[in-house]
């Protein structure tokens, strides 16, 4: 009865009757969000860009000096840093490729009806719900040559995954694949469920093979969503810190994020670490842009 009475009023009177106008409600949510974004995101971003051109060290009381592009020059000519970038690139390729293959494979397996499908899907999603640091410590135990089950299962004897400079990075990548494949699986499942059934029916009538159906129907229609998963996972893999930091201290597995952490919070080289953070940001943006361009091309097809 009251609502009926309200609908008979003009908009201004309706708003007055409700107490708050639509504009007020909108502003109540948007203005704080904008303020929050500016204060905690945009302002530090600009501020740290300024620091990247100085020799500022957060643990020293003496005033900082403007050094121009010196931080960037030193970083880009530092062999250690390039070695960290190469390690990170290797890690991103192995980890993201692994996640895409495992995640999409799982989605294909789950994209059919079978008993307890919901429960199995839920269980498969559990790894990505865990804390990355805990996952790192947990896998450290799994890899242990003394009591870890991995070597026992695969008959690898005393093979030291995390102490071996040649395998440490791949051990971390495997952990990341285990943790984040479910994310790719979830997105792929959404993509697969959106593929019209009549296309498969038509392919079946034409006696198309499974491979032909997969390459000509499934993959082209799911690829936009797969590319979105690829963008997200590449960005995340590039920034990986917690898993790697808790699992190994091998220099051969020192990702750029770990180097950045050490530079910023162990050596307190604030200016240079800001510069390094910007180099990483530019690289991530460049890679992401390439992906987005390709994604748009795929969508246009």
């Amino acid at each position: 009865m009251a609502s009926v009475a309200l609908t008979n009023l003009d908009p201004a009177s309706r708003a007055a009757a409700r107490g708050w106008s639509d504009l007020t409600i909108r502003n109540m949510f948007i203005i704080p969000t904008l303020v929050f974004l500016i204060v905690f995101n945009i302002f530090p971003l600009i501020y740290s860009l300024g620091y990247s051109f100085t020799n500022f060290a957060a643990n020293r009381s003496e005033p900082w000096q403007f050094v121009g592009l010196q931080n960037y020059r030193e970083l880009l000519t530092d062999d250690h840093i390039w070695s960290n970038f190469v390690i990170t690139a290797k890690y991103v390729i192995v980890s993201v490729a692994g996640q895409m293959i495992v995640g999409f494979g799982l989605a294909l397996l789950l994209n059919r009806s079978f008993p307890m499908k919901g429960l199995i899907t839920t269980l498969l999603l559990l790894p990505m719900m865990m804390s990355a640091a805990v996952v790192g410590l947990f896998w450290q135990l799994l890899y242990s040559p003394s009591w870890g089950p991995i070597n026992y299962v695969f008959g690898l004897g005393d093979f030291a995954w995390l102490s071996n400079p040649d395998s440490a990075l791949y051990a971390v990548a495997i952990t990341d694949i285990w943790m984040w494949s479910p994310f790719v699986m979830l997105l792929s499942l959404a993509g697969l469920s959106a593929v019209p059934q009549h296309l498969y029916e038509a392919a079946a009538i034409d006696r198309a093979s499974w491979w032909y159906t997969f390459t000509r129907i499934t993959l082209p229609l799911v690829s936009p969503i797969l590319l979105i998963a690829l963008i997200f996972r590449t960005m995340e893999a590039f920034k990986t810190f917690d898993i790697a930091y808790t699992m190994t201290t091998q220099p051969t597995a020192e990702l750029i994020a770990i180097r950045l952490y050490k530079q910023a919070f162990q050596q307190w080289d604030t200016g240079k670490s800001c510069a390094l953070a910007y180099i990483v940001l530019i690289m991530v943006l460049a890679i992401t842009n390439l992906y987005v361009k390709y994604l748009n091309k795929v969508k246009e097809r």
Binding site: N59, D158, S163, N164, P165, T249, K262, Q267
Partner: protein, 438 residues
């Protein structure tokens, strides 16, 4: 009328008395330290101070890996969350030159602490720059690298006989690194899930550096000239390379996957019955004599770091001094606390609780040396310690050392000489950057 006046005066007196006691109770001091047993002992100790003075003292702790980051984050913000900090010896340079620590030189001289505390603890926990006579901390927790070992394995007649037959001398506590290596090799039996030795290999902070430098110092090497910052020919001397080579040799006899180990893993090597000998800081030894935490407690012995080939014998210094944080709002109260802390009876109680006092009188006492199975080894060690660089840029210097020695020791990449040549070059560049060569 007189009754009324008397009552009023009595009331005012009572109120003042209560007020005073309330104010004393209101006073609080916070000491920041790492999360380990000595911090719990310190909390027990300072409860006595609270009982005596009414000033509440809290020992706030954080896990070791976060200790440095958390402390310096607070310092850099000029925060007053902590009134005192029990900081690592390597922090002295940064703490003093960057204005985080209160200068305690007058306090030091007034109380003649140079005669009270063990010389090495003053040199490494309190004074900066070295030999300057300026003091920034009071030695609180002495510590150094020591060793635990399986007495039952060492004393087994069959093992003794087999060892003598193989190496030509009696199986006993190793007196030299060469003997340490032989014993590690002798007990290294992977097929029996028994291993020779447990050493530090974690390179995320200073664990591996402490283990390596113990060997380097005993082999007659040094990390550099701390007064002149000279590194060429010192950091990468033949003696230093021989020490690093020995450390790598010892790594061959560690349990599998021993590539990221610090105090927890090294103690587990003993409590899990994995290794014959295990390196650790003395402060981590209490759980090894406790049957609840070590099933082999009765069979665990301790010894000080062995000597190098020329008889030189050193051990890496751990431990910390307590400093007053310059941003504290309770500096006067903190100084009063330090006056209480350096008293002989307080130091005696500190040792009784399990803390490693730096007081010479307490260290030399029979009571202290016989209090635990490892106190005698600790006493011997505290007079042969050397430390890492305490320069303000020590974190950078430490990271460079870690980057260079870890691939050699754990990964088997390159040679000891190459690792130290690279370290010397990196350090020279770092010290040049910070204008240390004048």
């Amino acid at each position: 009328m007189r009754k009324i006046v008397t009552s009023v005066i009595a009331g005012i007196g009572l109120a003042l008395a209560c007020g005073t006691s309330v104010r004393a109770q209101d006073k609080e001091l916070t000491i920041f330290w790492a999360e380990w047993d000595p911090a719990n002992y310190l909390q027990e100790l300072v409860n006595d101070y609270t009982a005596e003075t009414g000033v509440k003292v809290t020992v706030q702790t954080t896990p070791w890996p976060d200790f440095q980051t958390k402390a310096f984050t607070e310092f850099n913000a000029h925060g007053d969350a902590y009134d005192m900090v029990v900081g690592d010896s390597q922090w002295l340079g940064a703490g003093s030159t960057q204005g985080h620590y209160v200068d305690l030189t007058d306090f030091f001289n007034q109380h003649k602490l140079g005669d009270v505390m063990a010389p090495a603890t003053i040199k490494y926990y309190a004074e900066y720059p070295g030999g300057s006579g300026k003091y920034w901390a009071i030695p609180l927790e002495g510590d150094a690298i020591g060793w635990s070992y399986r007495k039952d394995w060492f004393e087994d007649p069959k093992e003794k006989e087999a060892f003598k037959a193989k190496y030509g001398y009696d199986l006993d506590i190793p007196k030299t690194y060469a003997q340490l290596r032989d014993i590690a090799e002798f007990f290294h039996r992977p097929d029996q899930k028994r291993y020779g030795i447990a050493i530090y290999t974690d390179n995320s902070y200073d664990a591996m550096a402490m283990g390596v430098e113990s060997a380097i110092f005993s082999y007659g090497g040094d990390l550099g000239d701390y007064a002149t910052y000279k590194v060429d020919g010192v950091t990468n001397s033949k003696e230093a390379a021989a020490g690093l080579d020995m450390y790598k040799e010892l790594y061959k006899f560690t349990p599998p996957g021993w590539g990221k180990t610090f105090f927890v893993e090294d103690n587990q090597a003993i409590t899990g019955g994995l290794a014959a000998m295990s390196m650790n800081f003395f402060a981590f030894f209490p759980p090894l004599v406790n049957k609840a935490t070590n099933p082999y407690a009765d069979a665990t012995g301790f010894f000080a770091n062995p000597a190098g080939p020329d008889g030189k014998r050193f051990a890496a210094l751990g431990g910390q001094g307590i400093s007053v944080v310059s941003y504290s709002k309770n500096k006067d109260e903190a100084m009063k606390f330090l006056e209480w802390f350096i008293k002989d009876e307080t130091q005696k109680k500190w040792a009784e609780l399990g803390g490693y006092t730096c007081s010479q009188a307490v260290l030399k006492s029979e009571a202290f040396q016989n209090a635990t199975p490892y106190n005698k080894a600790f006493y011997d060690t505290m007079f042969m310690v050397k430390d890492f660089w305490a320069t303000p840029e020590y974190a950078e210097v430490l990271d460079q050392l870690n980057q260079n020695i870890y691939p050699f020791v754990v990964g088997g990449k390159g040679t000891a000489q190459e690792a130290l040549d690279k370290t010397a070059a990196d350090w020279k560049a770092t010290f040049t950057k910070y204008n240390r060569y004048k």
